[in-house]
Symmetry: C2
Subunit: 235 residues, 2 copies
C-alpha cells in the first residue's frame, strides 16, 4: 500500500489518501490544543500513545459488535481506516460531572450522574463547537433523523463497553467525545479516535486525572498520565 497526498490536517491528526480504494491512513501528531485552539503545546510522544490506545479500543469495540473506521495499526503513529465523510457533530457522553456540565449548570465536578448525559455539539471552529439539540441538527441539515438515532444508540452502547473496559483497569470513565462518519455506502460508523485527548479518565481510587485536563489546566505530569493509560490498557 502507498501513502499518497494529505487530504486533511486537524489539531491532533493528519489524514492521507492511499492507493487502495476507500482506505485512508491517519497519522497521530504530538500537538495538543485546548479551549478551541487558544492554548497550544506539545505532549511528547502523544501521537504514539493515542494511536496505541485508540487502536486497542477500536479493536475491542469491533469485537463487541460496534462498527468503526478502524482497519489496522500500521506503525507507531499510523492507523489504517475506512474512508468516511465525518458527520459534523461532536457526540459527548457524560457519566460524571466535569467540564461544561460544571461550568454551565454548576453541578460539582465528580458528581456521579443518575442518568447518562448525551450532548451534541456542532463541529464548527469559528463558533467554538457550540452545543446544539436535535432540532438544530435537523434545521441545519447536519444529519438525518435516522442517522441521529443510530448515533445516539451507538454512543450509549459504546459507553457501556468503555465503562466496563476502564473499570477493569481501575479507571472511572468520566466523559468522552465521539465522532461518527458516513461510509461511501451511507453507513454510519464510529470514526476519529478514543484516547486521553478525547476522554476524561480518573484513577478509580485516587481520582487522579489521567487525561488532557492535565494539559488544559497546567497540572504537570501530562505525559505521565498518558503513559499510565497506555500501560494499563496494554496491561
Amino acid at each position: 500500500m502507498k501513502k499518497l497526498e494529505m487530504i486533511y490536517e486537524g489539531k491532533a491528526k493528519k489524514v492521507f489518501k492511499t492507493d487502495v480504494d476507500n482506505q485512508y491512513i491517519v497519522d497521530y501528531k504530538d500537538d495538543a490544543t485546548a479551549f478551541n485552539g487558544l492554548k497550544k503545546g506539545t505532549i511528547t510522544d502523544k501521537g504514539i500513545m493515542n494511536n496505541t490506545i485508540s487502536s486497542k479500543i477500536f479493536q475491542l469495540l469491533e469485537q463487541k459488535g460496534i462498527k468503526t473506521h478502524f482497519l489496522q495499526k500500521l506503525s507507531d503513529r499510523e492507523m489504517l481506516v475506512r474512508k468516511v465523510e465525518i458527520v459534523p457533530l461532536e457526540v459527548l457522553v457524560r457519566n460524571y460531572a466535569a467540564g461544561s456540565l460544571t461550568k454551565r449548570y454548576g453541578i460539582p465536578e465528580g458528581t456521579k450522574m443518575d442518568t447518562t448525559i448525551l450532548e451534541f455539539c456542532y463541529k464548527n471552529d469559528e463558533y467554538g463547537d457550540p452545543f446544539i439539540n436535535n432540532y438544530h441538527i435537523k434545521a441545519m441539515n447536519l444529519a438525518t433523523e435516522a442517522e441521529v438515532e443510530i448515533i445516539e444508540k451507538e454512543a450509549l452502547k459504546i459507553n457501556e463497553i468503555l465503562i466496563e473496559l476502564m473499570k477493569n483497569i481501575n479507571i472511572d470513565l468520566v466523559d468522552f467525545k465521539l465522532e461518527f462518519g458516513r461510509t461511501p455506502e451511507g453507513e454510519i460508523i464510529l470514526a476519529d479516535e478514543i484516547s486521553p485527548d478525547t476522554c476524561r479518565l480518573w484513577d478509580a481510587v485516587t481520582h487522579e486525572k489521567l487525561d488532557k485536563d492535565r494539559f488544559r489546566r497546567d497540572m504537570g505530569k501530562v505525559e505521565e498520565g498518558y503513559i499510565e493509560v497506555v500501560n494499563r490498557i496494554l496491561g
Copy 2:
C-alpha cells in the same frame, strides 16, 4: 375575592395569593430587564399592555384547545390564574433566526428556518438560564420524560396557532418563550405570559421590530412597538 399576600416577585410580574383555593392573581409591572438582569429599565404602561395582550392570546389558545393557567382579566394590570408550580424550563420556539441562534451558530438574523426549532433552557438566574437538552432535564430531575413530551407537543401546537394569529395582523412570529406549570392535580398547562416581552414580533412588510428587542438594543420607540401590538391584537 380578596387579594392576599405576595408569594413571588419576578422581573416583570408579581404573584399574589387569593382567598380562593388554587387561584392566584398575577400583577404585571412596567419593569423591563434584559441580558439576565444586567440591563434594567422601565417601559411606560408595559404592565397594562402585556396584561391586555396576554389575556387576549390565552383566551384564543383556550378556544383552540390549549390548556392554560388563564382564568380572567381582572383589571388593567391584574390577571386571575390557576395556581401552578412552574416547571423550571424556558421553552423557546423559533421560526426565524434571531438572538442566540444568530450569536451561537452564525445563522443570519431573519433567516426563515425550514424546521421549527424548539429549545429548552434551565430557569436558573445564577447560571443565566443555560441551554439544556432532554438528557440534562432527566439527569437534573427538572421534569419527567412524559412531561417533556407534553410540553414539546403543546409548544409546537401553540406555535401553529400563534403564527396564524400574528399573520392575520400582519406580523411575523420570529420566536417566543413559553413556561409551563403543574397544577395541584399534576396536569401540565401553559403558564407565564405571551407578550412582546417574551416574543420577537416583526412587521411582516417593513420587518420593523415590535418587541423587547427595541429595549434590549436601545432602538428607541420602545413603547410604540408595544402599543402597535396592542392595537393590532385588539383589532
